[in-house]
Symmetry: C2
Subunit: 601 residues, 2 copies
Amino acid sequence: MHRTHTCGELTASDIGKKVVLSGWVANRRDHGGVIFIDLRDRYGLTQTVYDPADSETAWKIADSFRSEYVVKLHGTVRSRPEGQSNSNLATGDVEVIITEAEVLSESKTPPFVIDDHSEANEEVRYKHRYLDLRRKKTLHNVQFRAKMNQFARNWFTTEDFLEVQTPIFTVSSPEGARDYLIPSRLHQGMFYALPQAPQQYKQLLMVGGVDKYFQIAPCFRDEDPRADRHSCEFYQIDCEMSFVEEKDVQDVAERFAQDLVAHMAPHKWVKLDGNDRFFRMTHTEAMDNYGSDKPDLRFGMKFADLTEDFRDSGFSVFANAVAEGGVVKAMKFTRPNLAPGAAPMSRSEIDDITAVAQAEGAKGLAYIIYEEAGPRSPILKFFTGNELAALEAKLSPKVGDMVFFGGADRKLVNKVLGKVRLTLRDKYQLANKDELCFTWVTDFPMYEQKDDGSYDFEHNPFSMPHGGVAAFEGGKNPLDVYGMQYDLACNGYEVLSGSIRNHDLKALVKGFEIVGKGEAEVKAKFGAMYEDFQYGVPPHGGFAFGFDRLMMILCEEPNIREVYAFPKSGKAEDTMMSAPSHVDEAQLRELHIKVRESHKS
Amino acid sequence: MHRTHTCGELTASDIGKKVVLSGWVANRRDHGGVIFIDLRDRYGLTQTVYDPADSETAWKIADSFRSEYVVKLHGTVRSRPEGQSNSNLATGDVEVIITEAEVLSESKTPPFVIDDHSEANEEVRYKHRYLDLRRKKTLHNVQFRAKMNQFARNWFTTEDFLEVQTPIFTVSSPEGARDYLIPSRLHQGMFYALPQAPQQYKQLLMVGGVDKYFQIAPCFRDEDPRADRHSCEFYQIDCEMSFVEEKDVQDVAERFAQDLVAHMAPHKWVKLDGNDRFFRMTHTEAMDNYGSDKPDLRFGMKFADLTEDFRDSGFSVFANAVAEGGVVKAMKFTRPNLAPGAAPMSRSEIDDITAVAQAEGAKGLAYIIYEEAGPRSPILKFFTGNELAALEAKLSPKVGDMVFFGGADRKLVNKVLGKVRLTLRDKYQLANKDELCFTWVTDFPMYEQKDDGSYDFEHNPFSMPHGGVAAFEGGKNPLDVYGMQYDLACNGYEVLSGSIRNHDLKALVKGFEIVGKGEAEVKAKFGAMYEDFQYGVPPHGGFAFGFDRLMMILCEEPNIREVYAFPKSGKAEDTMMSAPSHVDEAQLRELHIKVRESHKS
């Protein structure tokens, strides 16, 4: 037997008990000939004491212990001496006086200190993830993930959603991101693909009558690495329902998100609209008012449209922008905790935020500072009283506030002001980190126009258009077709995407015809769906939460890699396992492939 | 709104309610001008009635309904006429008289009848799995799997096991079965591999202090298709524990299996040994007594060893076998429900079972039939009284019993009698299908000797040997080294495999030296393990249940493919999705690979 108790278990009620403990040597102190060693395991720390007066043998063995040795100890629990209790530890009232000690496994000196306060660099930590896992923060994330997985699965199960594990070996899909491919050994020259998402399978399940499906689904996209995207694999809380409309689906997502927060992060709160629902706006509104399709509504700084007000402005940048069909917008910035009379931003702070705007493509960043003495701005001289009055009416600036402007074409203004808004949020803590503001972004445009005048799908081609099938008929401008498609934003992240699907094969084909693709192409590229849509399809829709993204938010973890037990590096490598790797020629031969030399591709 | 109720919901308490139902047209009957249609969804069937007297419009629309149309119906719940209730249906007391009807989606005639009684062939069913899923049996398996997944996860979570999702993109491992490979786009000429099992990761988690880990893990092995093995992907209930010995690990598995049966298949019962534990025997005993490393102990027919008794037999087959170092064994067959005086097997039945023995490599299958008048056998004339007495003493045959013999080298005899035993089980229902007999098979030999006299690992090289590190030292015969490795058999299937791991790097290297591999090779081939084993390794061990195999047994499903929502065919294809498939040359180019032409490999 290796232990009678874990290292997180002993309390005052165990005093006097003979115990066996096993764990890792966390740290060691010597005090007047007596050795103190904190023994660590997943459950906690226990202080162990080696006194030559009690057992000289144990004391000698303990003297040979080094950090991270795995040891097994026999001893007796006793109270810590008066005044030496540690109320931060569950075991802080007791210590164990050791009479027998044994090294189970030695350890070299670790490449970084196993300590929650020292920050080792990511590269070293990931290469030795088995050591990093001994740190409380890393273990916490692993535990959080397990708990969130369990909560999510049990929640959907309780709601009568049926968990279905869809295949990991499937077929390459011609739309979307790049597929990962797996060469087939049994079928020469053919390849499986890993699913980018179980989209087709979940729709097939609806056709199969499963009615309500969910899965915490592994998804695989061969995309270039990015900070909020994990390489190779990531997880979705994937869900689909039959005989539903938008509201039915969104209700489920809202209830789940609220329950998830209450269960997993009870110290956080969800900001709701006047009807106790998640905020909602159309995709157009989100772009026009916040310059983002995933707006952070924890704070204000909504854009005001001043296009008409500045149509004839003396400030030529604005007037020209309007004349060229562009827009003029402004947003108000209130610096928190500003001392009376102080300037909201220094000269160099203004230069910094102007540089942010310029990096997004703006020529500059016009602003007004509202001071006790009145507005101040390098461009104030160009403004008429009417223009200032319009600003006053739309933004109600107070003393100490600033107003930032954008005047250019609509897309650019939205992009620049959106970026400025988020930069100010981060720099001046405009948003409360414990507040969660979920916001529905709805009515995505189905199509975009390409430079040559033809159309392409802007988003999901399988969404039902608003207005149903009729939207594709009668010569309606494709740019005016909006899908029953919705994202859920939270604090500036996209945490969910979903839609009501187009379940009518004829309409689906019509939708594809607009982008110049005919029935034959739909049939060739989406064969299973083309087939199954001929055998009785229920109206259906669903969504997928980004599991990892949600967890980042709930754990306040800015780096998505940290939400995985064994993360891939920023270069899509498992540095601990040395993946990817070269493989034997014989393996490739069996799979009927060969590596293409780069110089003669 | 598409429905107020599902098709499994309405009962007598709903009589008089106005309801909206949506679902599939399951079947239709016409009775005196009135149409009756059973509407089906995941939850059940509801009888709907269309009477021109109530609504001629609805009646006319219903008249256009065909099988598998998806329709939406408004109507009023009423009691079925006296004597027409259907107690097999939850909704069997009521019917809905329809006043409004609408076709939501039409259906072509399905390629097979959606009916639980008609057996369509597997090929057609899998090609149209979305239709097959509308059959009760297929849906039942999908539901069973979901419930079993949830039960297993919650069970291990409650027991403080931490669920960890280990990576799906990992490195090719040189031992074991074939790996599936994924070419890397970012790292030219390199490949990820899908894990055959999370073996290395779970051991790394133990080194990381996770202490108790579990996962329902997808596993991937590129093996040739087989009836009890699903192609491409399968699932394990994977588990690992630190600071444990064999009994600790086996206790967990026993408790889980018992609770699983009680929860998922309460009509089945678990056969236990005299101590209310699972049966157990060593690997050697299993092979010697039942000719199988996964013995089915629901019935007897244990082999009796008669080698010494037949050493000098007048039956030269037996005497020669013994002289050549082989064995003579026998087992007793009692035919169930045999009429008094009847022969246990006919001449042709004996010929059949003899053919089974011959197919396994036996020259023939000697037997004795015990009749009222005494034993009868073609070889009886060669037997002495002592030999018959030995049989009597070891097998206690009664009138009506048969005894089958094997005399040859040990391996062949075990194999032949083992096969004969299972064939008789299936043919004469010797085992109760509702009984589950879990049996530990322990102490697997670590090594086998090759023809050239050298040694190779027979099983898991990472298992701790019995006797610990010392087993590898002091010139012990490698064939006498047994691993702390255990399988769990159930009803003739292997349902679990596990071991206590060798956590001592030096011992691990010694174990490899016996098969002619040195430290450098261990380091090169198992780099992560070689590294992490230098930083404090707890004693640890674990197991993996075969999820799909367990589910087959609990569902009495002889075909492992049926336990998947979307199975691969016997040729490792997803015929519905047409996977694997050819892919674009451009995709291969991005992945730096090309297909090898078969004629110029």
